[in-house]
Every structure is written in C-alpha cells, then in structure tokens.
Symmetry: C2
DNA sequence: CCTTCCATGGCACTCGGTGTCAAGTATGCT
DNA sequence: AGCATACTTGACACCGAGTGCCATGGAAGG
C-alpha cells in the first residue's frame, strides 16, 4: 500500500490531525479572546468551543498564554533567521537593522491582524510579561549570533549584547509608536528613524573602519 | 500619657504593627526561598512560618512574586527620583546616566544581598517576567520625565523613549555582566563602558551643542 | 488477527488568588 | 468609663490554571 509513500512523507495522518486540532484550538481561542478579552476567557470555554477536553488543551499549549504569544515566537524566529543569513561582510548594526526589516514587513503585511494582537499583548499584563520575556531571550540569541559573527565572547565583550539590546529597544519604540497611531504611518520609516537616532555615529564609523 | 506623642507621630500602633507584620512576612519568605527555591516554596509554608493566615498574606502582597520583586521597585523609585532631581541644564543622556549611578551604588553597597537576589530573579522565569515588566514601566516613566524636561510630547517624539530604553539596556547589560562575574569587577566601570558604547557620540554632541 | 503505540478524556489534586462574613481590637466621642 | 466606629484578622468557600495518572479507543504494523 502506501507504506513507501509514508516513508516519503513522514508527516502523515497523525501529524496532520495534530496540526488540525492545534489550529482549530488557536483559532477558536483567538476568536473568543477578541470578543471577551483575555482574562475573561477561560480555558474551559475554549475547549468547549473547540470540542476537545481540557487536558488535551494543555497537551498542545503549555499555558493559556502560549496560544496568544505564539505569533511573537514566529516573529522572533524570522528575525533570527534573517540575521543568520546576512552576509558576513556587513557590520553588526546594519545586519541587525536588516533583520528587523523582515519583522516590520511581516507586521505591515496584514495590519488588521497584527495591530489588535499587539494591542492585546500591550494591554494584558500577563501577556505583556510573556512578550517581554520573549524579547529578552531574543536579545540573548541575537547577541550570541552577533558574537559568533565577529568572533567575540558574548560573556566577555559587552558589544554584542549592547547592539542587540539597543536594536530591540529601537524596534520596540517604533512599533509602539506605530501602534499608537493605529498603523497609519510607515512602520519602516519609524524603524529607520529609531535606529538612526539610537546609533547616530554608526554610518560614519562604518565608513571609517571599512577598508578603502 | 503618650497621647501627645501619638499626635506627633501620626503613624502609630496600627501602622507600626502593619509594618512589623509585613517585614516579618518578607523576611521569612526570603529565607525560605533562599533555602528551597522560589517555585518550591508555597504561600502556605510562608504564612505558617510567619504565623499569619493565608488571607492576610495576600492583603500585604498582591502576589507571591511581589514579595521578592519589591526590591526592584525600590531601585526603580530611586532612579526616578534622581532623574527628577538632576539639574535642568544637564543633557538627557547625562542626566539618565547620573540617575543610574545611584542604582549602581545601591547594588554595590551590599553585594552579598543584591547578587543572590538578582540571580534569583534572572533564573526564576516567573520572577524574571515580573522584573522585565518593572523595567518596562520604568522605561515609560523615565521617558515621560525626559520628555517633560525637554518640553517634548512623549507620544510624538521618539527621542525620550529611545534615550530611556537605551539607558535601561546599557544598565541591564552591565548588571548582567557584573552578576556573571560574581560582583568582582567594578559595576560603575561596567556601566560607564556600556553607556559610552551605546552612545558613542553623546559627549561630542553635547560639547558641540552647548553654548560656548 | 493480534499486538503495540499514541492520542484522548476523565479524574483527582495542587497551588495561587479573591470575595465574603464574622469576630476581635484599637480609636474616638460623649 | 462606656459606647459606637472603623480596621485588621482569620476562616471558609470558591475559581481558574496547570499536572499526574490511568483507562480507553483507534490507527499502524507485523
């Protein structure tokens, strides 16, 4: 029968079912949360609407918060991936700026989905905390990658952690401003402004230290 | 009798008792947490050791986390107060740097207390989240104060939020490095390095824009 | 056809946190 | 002094998140 095709497509049946349930759970949850608010939505309501047991919910998501915060994880992964893919010749600030550009792109692609989500995460304390935590680990990961690029020890040299942290701050401030203005302005412009104002000498320094 | 002395000291009896209970609660809790770890210490254990009821605990602390995170609040308050007290002539970066100096002082005063606490908060996820949340609101408060100083609108100009965020990042990176090195190095030197590396042009710009 | 594996559901339990009420105690007024 | 008032406390009940455990059922595989 399909034994051979199964070998070719290792994600069959069981795995597909898993994804289905997970997606269904996420969709239902986001819908409920959008209508009632996060704190007002209980796990029991979610699982009732999704038609699974309470126990199953916690097999798919480690916590109720995870279901909302997942999107941030994806964004972080995209940023990390882009940074890892930047050419090694590029300076750290430029590479990081480029990495955050893909995040901006992802946010501006469908603002009607991204804006409510960011608002939800800024306004709900529990979610905000988780968001900040994600930012924190992302900062460490970016710092590690920057250190790797430049052959530095992230435990000895403050540089990588500082560049990562400052970039994250710039990004965060830009996104917050963008959110406050209901996504009206150009997010990329805001990010450009934030990055250049946090790193006023970067361009000049890059020019000076690059081999002529 | 002491009726007159009571009038002179408006915080009498009731208030003193409150403080006593609160201190006792905090002391016992920190002791238990230091011995067993945070997650492993239940509120019931704390209240049993302190000799009060469970309900009373939550009248003094809004959550179990608060009992540990309080010290961060104090540090934040000190930073804010110092920033508010800086002379208006001082540039924003310099003022903020001075404000964080008092925090460094407070940390280095008794490292044998500060170090374990910071470690606890970095290593315990729930506490780390709360710590990051505190940092986040501190960032907003500092940004607001900076905006006030310079007559800017914190919702329109990215500057204040950026300066506050970058300073916080620098401070955080410095403290983390200091913690990693078991408080061996000079924290103030680390902060100096972090601040100057995140703001390489600040001194030059300040010199240039100051009236000759 | 039989076995083995895995997802699920149900259950009981822990723990953090809150609302409510009753009792005790200091304070203030007469 | 005596009484009314407000505040603190403790006890109880309750909720919601999260976990461990076990039984069941259905799919994959020999």
């Amino acid at each position: 029968m399909h034994t051979s095709s199964e070998a070719l497509a290792p994600l069959s049946m069981a795995e597909r079912k898993r994804r289905l349930v997970r997606d269904q759970l996420g969709e239902v949850a986001l819908h409920l949360v959008a209508r009632q608010g996060y704190e007002e939505t209980t796990v029991d309501q979610i699982v009732a609407a999704a038609g699974v047991s309470r126990r199953t919910f916690f097999r798919y998501f480690k916590s109720k918060e995870d279901i909302v915060v997942e999107s941030v994880s994806d964004l972080g992964a995209a940023i990390r991936a882009e940074l890892a893919a930047r050419p090694t010749g590029e300076g750290p600030e430029a590479a990081v700026r480029a990495a955050f550009a893909v995040a901006a792109e992802q946010l501006t692609l469908e603002p009607e989905k991204a804006l409510p989500l960011t608002r939800l995460m800024f306004d709900t304390p529990a979610l905000h905390r988780r968001f900040l935590e994600h930012q924190s680990v992302l900062q460490e990961e970016l710092a590690a990658e920057l250190a790797r690029r430049e052959g530095l020890d992230v435990d000895e040299d403050l540089g990588p952690a500082l560049v990562a942290g400052v970039a994250l701050t710039a990004f965060q401030v830009a996104v917050e401003a963008w959110t406050r203005h209901n996504g009206d302005g150009d997010l990329n412009l805001l990010i450009d402004e934030a990055f250049s104002r946090t790193n006023p000498g970067a361009a000049a320094r890059r020019r000076a230290t690059e081999p002529g």
